[in-house]
């Protein structure tokens, strides 16, 4: 279900993506679907445990397998995470490649791994003297003080299409298919790796099955594909399998977040101490937990650090650092509200920094039925109902993008932008923006993306794609229209700017007659006209990405099973290019947020450091039955005249809102994600001394 508050600034209210048929019938061709003639298969040999090295591997036996082209294993090379690369195999077929992997029959030296963050955590460091004095004032000043430590797990990106490249280095140039979020940057990377000038390289990524922040570089597999293809003068496929994807395809780092916050009886937050630690890989770096945020937290003394584990390297992951931070700070918001006996919504509104979100809180509360919310643990019986809420937002900076809009003699319009559609509907946005700008039916417009020969656009990170693409596409459409008017002016013997145009109709100023789009296009002297557009401030407009979410859950207090029953999201995103894809982004963000809150967690074995759930059976991702009713309200106002970010803000508040709803249901707070039955039961035992 969905609802829109103001349909006015919505370019395309209801039509599905033009490529929907290709996607549901399987004719959309992704990188993983590319099998050029005579392709070779390449895969890395990986160390399966947390720390150690390969002692022995039967390289000779592997090489002897028919169809095996190359086997290369670095015995003794020390590795510090499961999935670390220690060699490579290239073969004529996937089966031969896997036979060779098995034939290696490797033996390992396994050292003790660092796998358990709570055991390795060193606690909160002393703040400096001045900060300590300030904190002492806060904590000893008769205010209510809440102290809590929250933790979040490591979540892997779990893209449906794994990372991978298919690279064909030929004598005259390179053609590559890469599953990427940055097709332009990948052209540069392939050019550097193969030593061909960029003009001789083309990268295709017309369809991409998700990236979530993990697909910005060529990666070890892409580099391997480039090198082997160049060495062997054959196309090479290097596509990760699911286990490689989990272990080495990127992850959202876990966190330990300490908060001690003082609040006045009026409900105003006075400030306090925050220490955040992210669990990163053995080399460190890549953490960055965003806590605190959104609310006025007063005077906060904040420190942060990293905790190194023997696990794969973190990568940017849909709103990097925000869902973790939001979970902790929104949990704390509810704990503070309880400390001063205030309603969580009223408490948030009091400490809000955004006027828009204050209004969104009222709207969301109404749609979820907040008035039915009972006191914590107040539902009779074993099945407890709870409600929770949380906020989010996103920064919207300007950027660069270019676009070509080509109007054909037939009247058909083709728009090319060097961006990529990682599943978000970017090509739909291009189509609908151009159609809307030109006042044409969308069936006459084709938006094309995912090719490095197109005019350069941004990589899809930071939710920039739509907000940077729209001003460029509109600029190119406007310029193409100008070119077409020049053509008409020369036929009609007039000045181009005397010709008026709107909704598919030109007016010939010499006789005041209407000329339909197609008839006008047929008058052009050549086959087509092209407008070259760039990001144009004129089309930037106004808008923001504030959001709030409300959640209703049902918790079985005997088994600890949490079911999300309903989520309401009030999401601003400026002007909407296509309502279905925009709502789809909100729903996707929420589903990924539910999955983060309740299910997903990388599980490293304490003994071996191997990832025990590098699959989709034990690595649990929300499935159809786990997805609740989602009410995605696009909060579009008259003032929202420019496209803004939506993909990342929509996933930020979900986990915090769920955690708050669970606490409301049970009267017991689970401060650790994911909120599994085990965690719920443990929290009940710890906080109530008994279950149910």
């Amino acid at each position: 279900m969905s609802e829109t508050t103001a349909p006015k600034n919505i370019m395309q209210p209801k039509e599905p993506r033009p490529d929907v048929r290709q996607k549901v019938t399987g004719t959309a061709r992704y990188t993983a679907d590319q099998y050029p003639a005579k392709v070779l298969y390449a895969r890395s040999v990986r160390f399966p445990f947390g720390k150690g090295s390969i002692v022995n591997a039967d390289v000779e036996k592997a090489r002897a397998i028919p169809g095996v082209v190359l086997v290369d294993v670095k015995k003794g090379k020390s590795v510090n995470y499961a999935g670390g690369i220690v060699g490579r195999i290239v073969a004529e077929s996937k089966d031969a490649l896997e036979d060779a992997m098995e034939a290696l029959n490797a033996t390992y030296e396994v050292e003790q791994s660092r796998t358990n963050p709570s055991k390795l955590y060193e606690g909160v460091p002393e703040a400096d003297a001045q900060a300590n004095a300030e904190l002492k004032g806060l904590f000893d000043g008769g205010l209510k003080v809440v102290e809590a430590t929250y933790t979040t797990q490591v979540q892997t990106h779990s893209c449906l299409e794994p990372h991978g490249s298919v690279v064909d280095v030929r004598q005259d140039g390179v053609e590559a298919w890469v599953s990427t979020q940055a097709v332009m940057a990948l052209e540069d990377a392939v050019s550097n790796t193969t030593d061909f000038p960029a003009s001789k390289v083309v990268v295709h990524s017309e369809f991409v099955g998700g990236g979530f922040g993990s697909k910005f570089s060529l990666g070890a597999e892409g580099t391997m594909a480039c090198r082997v293809s160049k060495e062997r003068a054959r196309p090479v496929r290097a596509i990760l399998n699911r286990s490689e994807e989990h272990c080495d395809g990127g992850n959202r780092p876990g966190s330990i977040q300490y908060m001690k916050i003082a609040v006045k009886d009026s409900g105003e937050i006075a400030g306090g101490r925050v220490h955040v630690v992210s669990t990163v890989d053995a080399d460190g770096g890549g953490g960055g937990i965003r806590n605190p945020n959104y609310y006025k937290f007063g005077n906060v003394v904040r420190t942060e650090g990293d905790l190194a584990l023997n696990g794969g390297k973190p990568q940017a992951f849909r709103a990097p650092g925000f869902p973790q931070g939001s979970f902790a700070l929104e949990s704390m918001m509810d704990e503070l509200a309880a400390a001063v006996k205030m309603d969580p919504v009223a408490f948030r509104k009091l400490n809000e920094t955004s006027r828009r979100r204050i209004e969104q809180f009222d709207r969301g509360a109404e749609l979820i039925g907040w008035k039915d919310r009972k006191a914590d643990g107040g539902t009779p019986g074993r099945i407890k109902i709870g409600y929770g809420c949380a906020a989010g937002s996103w920064g919207n900076g300007k950027g660069k993008c270019s676009s070509d809009c080509e109007i054909h003699r037939s009247g058909e319009v083709e728009v090319r932008v060097g961006i990529q559609d990682i599943g978000t509907g970017a090509s739909t946005v291009v189509t609908d923006t151009a159609a809307w700008h030109l006042g044409l039916p969308r069936t006459m417009v084709t938006g094309k993306v995912g090719n490095s020969d197109y005019p350069p656009g941004p990589g899809s990170g930071g939710s920039v794609t739509t907000r940077m693409t729209v001003p460029a596409v509109r600029d190119s459409a406007e310029k193409a229209l100008g070119e077409l008017k020049k053509e008409l002016a020369s036929v009609w013997k007039t000045e181009p700017d005397k010709i008026s145009y709107g909704e598919g109709v030109f007016v010939n100023p010499t006789n005041n007659q209407n000329v339909a789009w197609k008839d006008a296009c047929a008058m052009m002297s050549g086959a087509s006209v092209v407008g070259h557009g760039r990001f144009n401030d004129e089309y930037w407009g106004e808008g923001g990405s504030d959001t709030v979410q409300f959640v209703k859950v049902e918790v079985d207090s005997e088994t600890g099973v949490v079911k999300v029953k309903k989520v309401v999201a009030i999401q601003a995103c400026g002007q909407v290019c296509n309502r279905l894809t925009a709502e789809n982004q909100v729903c996707g963000g929420i589903i990924q947020g539910i999955s983060f809150a309740l299910f997903e967690q990388r599980m490293l074995d304490p003994m071996t450091g191997g990832q025990l759930n590098a699959d989709f059976i034990n690595y649990k991702v929300a499935g159809p039955v786990d997805v609740p009713e989602i009410v995605a309200v696009l909060d579009v106002r008259d003032t929202d005249t420019g496209a803004r970010s939506i993909g990342e803000p929509s996933t930020i508040p979900t986990a915090g809102a769920i955690a708050n709803a669970v606490a409301n249901a049970l009267g017991v707070r689970v401060r650790h994600l994911p909120i599994t039955p085990q965690r719920v039961l443990e929290a009940m035992l710890e906080q109530k001394g008994a279950i149910a």
């Binding site: 089966d95 025990l612 039955v625």
Partner: protein, 321 residues
């Protein structure tokens, strides 16, 4: 995947001949092919039996019900007779796996599927069940392992449907191509103590033709607890049935075999109608012999919860109250 020889059996004689040559049966193939792709199962010859349509379907016979070995989980889930006479049975499978899996997976394949232990399922871990030296679950992460010790290996039995069959004392009818064989399902499954490498008694040269349920119970219920509601194996489940003044209480997903909770059965005795209090006592008794490992203590509580709930549900009572 390794390459393998492939044949299709048309009848019992053909199948027996193939088994004689060392062929391995493929029914729905859900588990077998997964195991082969992971290179845990190294079968070199596979014989598909999906063409043997006589092995498919649910029939009433001799006062009981015969379920053909190739009957799919969804055929069982949708069967009107079973739904009325023995609702716990369709309930065990109607939410198992995914709709697509349920359309293909067969009842025989389901009870014969290999354990889900994450050490067993990864080639890198040469565990006891794969002829190795150690059970990695002992010192490793054993969240999903057995909470009832039954030997050196700590798998749980992964079948949803087996506990319902054990509850009513089903017979497994098998054949070697010449003679029918019958196994009492109550001693068909093998604990690690009995055999470290096999989970049941079926010899390689025999195949299951049907599962026979001699008598429908007067009451029955199935209750499961899952971390996630879409394609996830339960953390604990229980089937309770009542027939001839006797309760059968069978726990699933908590031990290496579908586990008969005899102590709990003793608590409820002949009583046809069980109240909250008695159900709770039975539940306590059911977990008396549980000995959880380092990471899975919470599942003892869940085992207790599913026993209590199954008994109340079988008596038509609201267990959420």
């Amino acid at each position: 995947m390794r390459s393998f020889g492939y044949a299709e059996a048309e009848n019992a004689q053909g199948l027996a001949a193939a088994l004689g040559k060392g062929y391995r049966i493929k029914a729905g193939g859900i588990d077998l092919l997964d195991m082969m792709k992971e290179r845990i199962d190294k079968s070199e010859r596979i014989v598909s039996i999906t063409g043997m349509t006589e092995l498919r379907g649910i029939k009433e016979r001799d006062g009981g019900v015969a379920i053909g070995a190739l009957t799919t989980l969804n055929e069982i889930a949708r069967d009107e007779t079973l739904r009325k006479a023995f609702p716990a049975l369709p309930d065990t499978v109607c939410n198992a796996a995914t709709p697509q899996v349920r359309e293909v997976a067969t009842i025989a394949g389901n009870i014969l599927q290999r354990p889900r232990c994450w050490f067993f399922r990864q080639a890198e871990y040469n565990c006891l069940r794969k002829s190795g030296q150690a059970c990695y679950a002992v010192a490793g992460d054993n969240t999903y392992h057995s909470i009832y010790p039954m030997g050196a290996c700590h798998i749980t039995h992964p079948s949803n449907i087996a506990p319902a069959l054990v509850a009513v004392g089903a017979q497994i009818i098998a054949s070697d191509g010449k003679n029918p064989k019958s196994y009492d399902i109550r001693d068909f499954f093998l604990t690690p103590e009995q055999d470290l490498k096999r989970e049941n008694k079926l010899p390689q040269n025999e195949f299951i033709t049907e599962i026979f349920l001699p008598k429908m119970p007067e009451k029955s219920a199935y209750v499961e607890v899952k971390e996630k509601q879409s394609f996830d194996w339960p953390l604990a489940a229980c089937v309770a049935t009542y027939a001839d003044k006797k309760w059968s209480i069978i726990l699933a997903h908590v031990a290496p075999v579908p586990l008969r909770a005899t102590l709990a059965e003793n608590v409820v005795g002949e009583k046809a109608d069980i109240d909250e209090n008695l159900a709770l006592q039975a539940a306590e008794a059911a977990v008396k012999t549980a000995q959880p490992m380092a990471y899975n203590g919470f599942r003892v509580h869940l085992a207790k919860a599913v026993v209590r709930r199954a008994l109340l549900k079988a008596c038509g009572k609201d267990f959420h109250a």
